[in-house]
């Protein structure tokens, strides 16, 4: 057999060989070549800044890692959600009798099976949610508000029976005109989606307010914007549109739920936040949070889209009705049509500058599509639009607007990419008109420590300036770009980064290793980043820490894996746990040596006592039981707030002038990571964010027909970049330590998605002389712009 021949061939020939069957020296050579960072990096720490193999890595390259859809339980039923074919319709009646009669069908649910929710606002750590809206999103009540909106669900013995049954459910709809675009939805005569939505401003609704698609208004001002523009020698004012786009994680949503006979509910799920799922599920099915246990499975990408619940409450009710575990898996069309997206937008940005290249005033008007229910990231959008610059006088006005699209959700620096596209393109046009270098202009106007943002607060130490300087000084920016129809563009982006709450527990094992239990679900290698901070603090190796993500019954409250917060905040919790361990180790050593604990100190992985007494961590770990029980360190973090994250990008493109197609030739990103814990995964976040940004810039969009039906709900026609569409993404990690973290960590996950659309738009202009102000900058649009030139 061929298989056997291969297997034999791979078997290592002798004991001197490493895992991969190569002598150690040769293996190091390969590693060097795989790893992209320069070998000359200076090292302040022993573990931080190194590139250990991630602890969950072998499971993930062998297929052993268990994701949500891999859950297999005895007696498990399979469910299917029936979804609305209409973008906007009244649901007059639902007849489930034919489906219920199909052999193998075990239960059917509709919104009638869910407890009524008042419009109570519940704080979910990362944001507040109106429970009535969340419930109506999970299962449509009296109206379907977007194509794909859940209307009913079936659990059956097999997925095929469940699918057949779902087709037998008869729903009587009264179609209503769909409202698909933000400006149209704001008009007084637009059909209103939700009769309980009125415009709020800073939490207050005007007494005479009518039901409206405009759910919220935000206004920020700084100084006197009119006086500011009066000082300007040049004013550029432009309008921008961006299309609805999806997070595009490869793993569809899933949930497996058992509602046990004792009333306890267990949820197995791929999620960004187990505690958030616990609370949302408990609220929506009407039981105490302590009756819900959420078990985190490995998660196949989230980017903000796996925070809100869709399936767990539905599976829970199906399980309650059947007494069996129920698994619900979305297909790709449902993922596109019913989850995700980040808002489409309309923006008007006006910036004034003096002849010598100083920005003096900014004015922005921004409207985001919230989707079916309020809650777009319009507030951060408003707060980010001018956040990279020191602007004396500015004003920003923003609107959160309901349309018949899926309820929008966070997507990597929510709101910031849209506004960066607008602002950074206007800045590029000012540079062009003034004839100044785009990098120097940004350096001259950069926000820095002490700069007051338009929303009020003053920046602490930030690295905006440093990222622009890193790009300006890069080989890429300094190199000459030659060839027809080629151009270079740069752009900068900002994101806040969140702090929020985390908890960890660390236990010393007798063999000198430490078990680390944490509540932060791991989407991109954060287990290792947290373990490295614990290891650094204890002076042990990263491999000596055994990290594990625990369920909601086994670890303290931990907020979602989002907001670029895990390496920062859960890292602080791990450092705090390590400090507790240090203290206890010192006490044990004192007992063992029979000396006073005040004479013992913990130093770089060693426990040092009087008279040259010392233990290594492992030596002491082996003896701790002689003088006591387990050593357990606890750590939490809650108060710390991160400083902001900045990144500056440089891209070279080539535009086909006949077709309008844009090829990315070269891409460099410089980003402030504070302190890079595991540089490979910092680079990975930067590279991944850039390529998502490239997709958003060039081809990704929800394409709707006139009935409000998404025509491209597949990975064939919703075109995320393939590896054949992009070059290597060169990374420059800038390190301006964040004073709020013991090792200076800044979150790196989100901000890299912000600059690409603007950088590419600016490069397209440099290449063929057209300004693109409408995302995506797909070939037909670029071609039309070139032909109209």
């Amino acid at each position: 057999m061929r298989q056997h021949a291969l297997v034999n061939h791979r078997r290592p020939k002798n004991e001197d060989r490493t895992l991969i069957g190569l002598p150690v020296a040769e293996r190091q050579g390969y590693l060097q070549r795989i790893r992209t960072m320069a070998t000359s990096e200076k090292r302040k720490y022993k573990v931080i800044g190194t590139r250990p193999i991630r602890h969950d890595g072998v499971d993930k390259v062998t297929g052993r890692a268990q994701y949500g859809a891999d859950v297999r339980l005895t007696g498990m039923l399979h469910g299917v959600v029936l979804r609305s074919p209409h973008a906007h319709a009244k649901i007059k009646s639902i007849d489930t009798s034919a489906a219920a009669a199909l052999p193998g069908v075990r239960a059917i649910v509709t919104s009638a099976d869910f407890p009524d929710q008042v419009g109570r606002i519940v704080e979910l750590g990362e944001g507040a949610v109106n429970m009535r809206h969340l419930s109506a999103n999970v299962m449509a009540h009296d109206k379907a508000l977007y194509k794909g909106h859940a209307v009913a669900a079936v659990a059956a013995d097999s997925i095929h029976i469940a699918e057949e049954a779902a087709k037998l459910i008869k729903v009587d709809y009264e179609p209503l005109p769909p409202v698909m675009e933000v400006i149209g939805a704001m008009r007084d005569d637009a059909p209103v989606l939700n009769d309980d939505v009125r415009m709020t401003e800073m939490g207050t609704v005007k007494p005479d307010a009518k039901a409206s698609n405009v759910a919220a208004k935000f206004l920020f001002t700084k100084g006197d914007v009119n006086a500011g523009f009066a000082k300007a020698d040049i004013i550029i004012e432009r309008e921008f549109r961006t299309a609805t786009v999806h997070q595009g994680y490869i793993e569809p949503h899933n949930a497996t739920v058992l509602w046990n006979a004792d009333g306890k509910v267990t949820v197995w799920i791929s999620t960004q936040g187990t505690f958030s799922v616990r609370q949302q599920t408990a609220e929506l099915v009407g039981i105490p949070v302590s009756d819900v246990k959420v078990i985190p499975m490995e998660i196949g990408g989230g980017f903000g889209g796996k925070i809100s619940v869709y399936l767990p409450p539905v599976a829970a009710i199906l399980s309650r009705k059947t007494g069996k575990p129920v698994q619900l898996l979305m297909d790709r069309a449902a993922v596109f049509e019913a989850t995700g997206p980040t808002p489409g937008s309309f923006m008007r940005v006006k910036v004034g500058a003096t002849r010598d290249g100083k920005i003096v005033a900014g004015d922005a008007w921004i409207a985001f599509e919230a989707g079916a229910f309020p809650g777009s990231p319009i507030a951060p959008g408003c707060m980010c639009v001018f956040s990279c610059y020191d602007i004396p006088d500015a004003r920003v006005e923003g609107y959160d607007v309901c349309v018949n699209k899926p309820r929008s959700n966070a997507y990597r620096a929510p709101g910031s990419t849209q506004v960066a596209f607008a602002m950074e393109t206007v800045v590029d046009e000012i540079c062009e008109k003034l004839g100044v270098d785009a990098a120097e202009f940004r350096i001259k106007n950069a926000a820095k420590e002490g700069t007051r943002r338009v929303d009020g607060p003053v920046y602490n130490r930030i690295g905006m300036l440093e990222t622009v300087e890193a790009i300006r000084d890069s080989e890429h920016y300094q190199s000459k770009l030659t060839g027809p129809n080629r151009g270079r563009g740069i752009a900068t982006g900002f994101w806040f980064n969140a702090g929020l709450k985390s908890a960890v527990v660390a236990t010393v094992n007798l063999d000198g290793t430490v078990s680390l239990i944490e509540g932060s679900t791991d989407i991109g290698g954060s287990r290792t980043g947290i373990a490295m901070q614990l290891a650094e603090t204890l002076g042990i190796t990263a491999e000596a820490v055994k990290p594990q993500v625990a369920d909601t019954d086994s670890i303290g409250y931990t907020d979602v894996t989002g907001g670029s917060r895990v390496t920062f905040a859960t890292g602080i919790a791990a450092v705090n746990a390590a400090k507790e361990i240090q203290q206890q180790m010192v006490e044990r050593a004192a007992l063992l040596w029979e000396v006073d604990a005040s004479t013992v100190k913990y130093d770089d992985g060693k426990i040092i006592g009087p008279a040259s007494k010392s233990f290594t961590f492992a030596e002491l770990a082996a003896k701790i039981h002689e003088v006591g029980g387990a050593i357990i360190g606890h750590g939490t973090s809650s108060a710390a707030e991160q400083g902001g994250a900045f990144g500056t990008h440089c891209v070279d493109v080539e535009v086909d002038p006949d077709t309008g197609k844009v090829q990315i030739l070269r891409y460099t990103i410089a980003q402030d990571a504070g302190t890079a814990i595991h540089p490979s995964y910092v680079e990975g976040q930067m590279q991944g964010g850039v390529v998502q940004g490239i997709g958003w810039a060039l081809n990704e969009e929800y394409f709707y027909d006139d009935k409000g039906v998404m025509r491209n709900a597949t990975f064939l026609d919703y075109r995320i970049p393939t590896c054949y569409d992009v070059p290597m993404i060169e990374t420059i990690i800038v390190e301006v330590p964040d004073p709020a973290h013991p090792y200076g960590v800044r979150g790196v996950g989100e901000v890299p998605i912000c600059p690409p659309p603007a950088a590419i738009a600016n490069a397209i202009h440099a290449a063929v002389g057209v300004r693109m102000r409408d995302l995506p900058m797909s070939p037909p649009k670029v071609c039309a712009a070139i032909l109209q030139k």
Binding site: K661, L698, F703, L716, Y724, P779, C783
Partner: protein, 298 residues
């Protein structure tokens, strides 16, 4: 997925019997890369799926002095992995290389692609440009239909109930001939053609003037088109910019594209001209025996 029966006949006669008996509710399965998706999404609802990959006649792949025989179920990877196809029927290799990703090419066949009869099918224009005949077996025997007449509209073709596409036959290439297929897509791979063009040209002995040409257009009409007038413009001419522009104009005239999520009618018509120019140029380069500098998607 909807329930269905499965049969895997080993002879053409059995396959025809099974397909005839199904009274339209039996569908042939070659690579399955469209069929299985269509059954899953409910666009097709066969009662029986007839796997035709075990039939020898549908797997034939022979290039000889009399031309090329390409079995309808031969997967793409065998097409572009065949040395004679790469050198003498290059447009077929170009098509096979960009139908889906490599995984799809392991299974998808030209026969299946043509029988799905999508206006944007990547194999059909190449077959038309190379003058392929479609050999069809059915309850009443065997018949042949030129590739440009096989499709009759979106998802529609000349196959009658019980009939099965068996193979494509193409004449041996003339001396100094070359062919190329290219499509325009927004990404560089994994996409459906916004517009596609295949061309085959034959040059005179001096390799200066075009003495024969066939051009086919995809995704600009209800079915792939043979652009007779555009080809006629080239005959007796050197492929100068001016001549190519005239051919492009002639091709644009027969394009009647629709506006959909992949492009507007105006944009598609514009692209027809761009692609005809580029594809004819590329075919000429190959006809001269020169290496074509071409990366799919670029």
């Amino acid at each position: 997925m909807r329930d269905f029966d499965y049969a895997a006949p080993t002879t053409l006669a059995d396959a025809v019997t099974l397909l005839s008996r199904g009274n339209g509710a039996a569908r042939p399965l070659a690579g399955g890369t469209d069929l299985i998706d269509h059954v899953r999404t409910g666009r097709l609802a066969p009662d029986t799926v007839v796997d035709i990959k075990k039939i020898a006649e549908l797997n034939v792949l022979e290039a000889g002095p009399t031309g090329l025989r390409l079995g309808a179920a031969v997967p793409c990877y065998r097409v572009y992995g065949h040395a004679a196809i790469v050198s003498d029927y290059s447009a077929l290799a170009d098509s096979g290389h960009i139908i889906g990703g490599v995984q799809i090419q392991s299974r998808a066949s030209f026969g299946g692609n043509v029988c799905n009869s999508g206006p944007a099918a990547d194999s059909t224009p190449s077959l038309i440009a190379l003058g392929a005949m479609c050999v069809i077996a059915g309850p009443k025997g065997t018949r042949e239909v030129p590739a440009e007449e096989f499709c009759t509209g979106p998802g529609k073709n000349v196959l009658q109930p019980g009939e099965l596409l068996v193979e494509f036959r193409m004449p041996a290439p003339a001396k100094n001939s070359g062919s190329h297929y290219r499509r325009f897509i927004p990404r560089n791979e994994m996409d459906i053609a916004v517009v596609s063009v295949a061309a085959s040209v034959t040059l005179d002995d001096a390799k200066q003037k075009i003495i024969a040409a066939r051009i086919s257009l995809g995704a600009v009409a209800p079915k792939p088109l043979l652009a007779t007038d555009a080809a006629a413009v080239l005959i007796g001419q050197s492929p100068t910019d001016d001549v190519l522009a005239k051919a492009a104009d002639a091709a644009r005239k027969i394009a009647t594209p629709i506006t959909d999520m992949r492009g507007t009618a105006e944009y598609r018509t514009h692209l027809v001209g761009v692609l005809v120019t580029r594809v004819v140029q590329a075919a000429v380069t190959r006809a001269k025996g020169e290496k074509l500098d071409y990366r799919p998607g670029h």
